[in-house]
């Protein structure tokens, strides 16, 4: 049974570009949460998806958007990239009322 998988593992973009990150949840999990982890800091909650809808959102601008598909996989989109968006982006999946399992993350560098 595969755990949470994220792609790509690394990504380099320039300011102003758009990026899409992908996440496949652990088997049996229907809820996906996204986090941003800047270097030397703890994860910051971006948003959570359940039943293909955004259920909760952290303190992130509208440039950050997402989607959940019927197979529970999810995408995180970031528009108009800024240098400050450089971070490790973590996806976590869980049952609706269960503990979160994290993927290895996507390292985004904005130049």
């Amino acid at each position: 049974d595969a755990g949470v998988t994220q792609s790509p593992t690394h990504l380099i973009k320039t300011r102003g570009q758009q990026v899409t990150l992908r996440c496949s949840p652990k088997s049996g999990h229907d809820t996906v949460s996204w986090y941003q982890q800047a270097l030397g800091q703890g994860p910051q909650f971006i948003f959570q998806y359940y039943e293909e809808e955004e259920r909760q959102r952290g303190n992130f601008p509208d440039r950050f958007s997402g989607h959940q598909f019927p197979n529970y996989s999810s995408e995180l989109n970031v528009n108009a990239l800024l240098l400050g968006d450089s971070a490790l982006y973590l996806c976590a999946s869980s049952p609706r009322t269960g503990d979160r399992y994290f993927g290895a993350g996507t390292r985004l560098s904005v130049l």
Partner: protein, 115 residues
């Protein structure tokens, strides 16, 4: 406001010695408490959690943590450190009444085990 504090940015321990990574929390209600570990260029791995019951919780890789309600602490411990325990450790808390099950994270503590 809910918060988690990890007062030490870095903890250095000699291999074979006991280790403690500190965590204190503030929540309005009763807490669920978690410890996660992050190895370089890797995601977060679950170590252990406190839900209810025995204040001493045992987890993966020989780690344990003690819940102290009066001191609002949940310190991570291991009796004998290994070099391979060197990593970044995060404490997290969730209010039992939070229906969205969101975790509040500490800033992390870098644990360095020296041979």
């Amino acid at each position: 406001a809910q918060s988690v504090a990890q007062p030490e940015d870095q903890v250095n321990v000699a291999e074979g010695n006991p280790l403690t990574v500190k965590c204190t929390y503030s929540v309005s209600g009763n807490p669920y408490l978690f410890w996660y570990v992050q190895y370089p260029n890797r995601g977060l791995q679950f170590l252990l959690k406190y839900i209810t019951g025995d204040n001493l919780v045992k987890g993966s890789y020989g780690f344990e943590a003690e819940f102290n309600k009066s001191q609002t602490s949940f310190h991570l411990k291991k009796p004998s450190a290994l070099v391979s325990d060197s990593a970044l450790y995060f404490c997290a808390v969730r209010d039992k009444k939070d229906s969205n099950y969101q975790l509040i994270w500490g800033a992390g503590t870098k644990l360095i085990i020296k041979p």
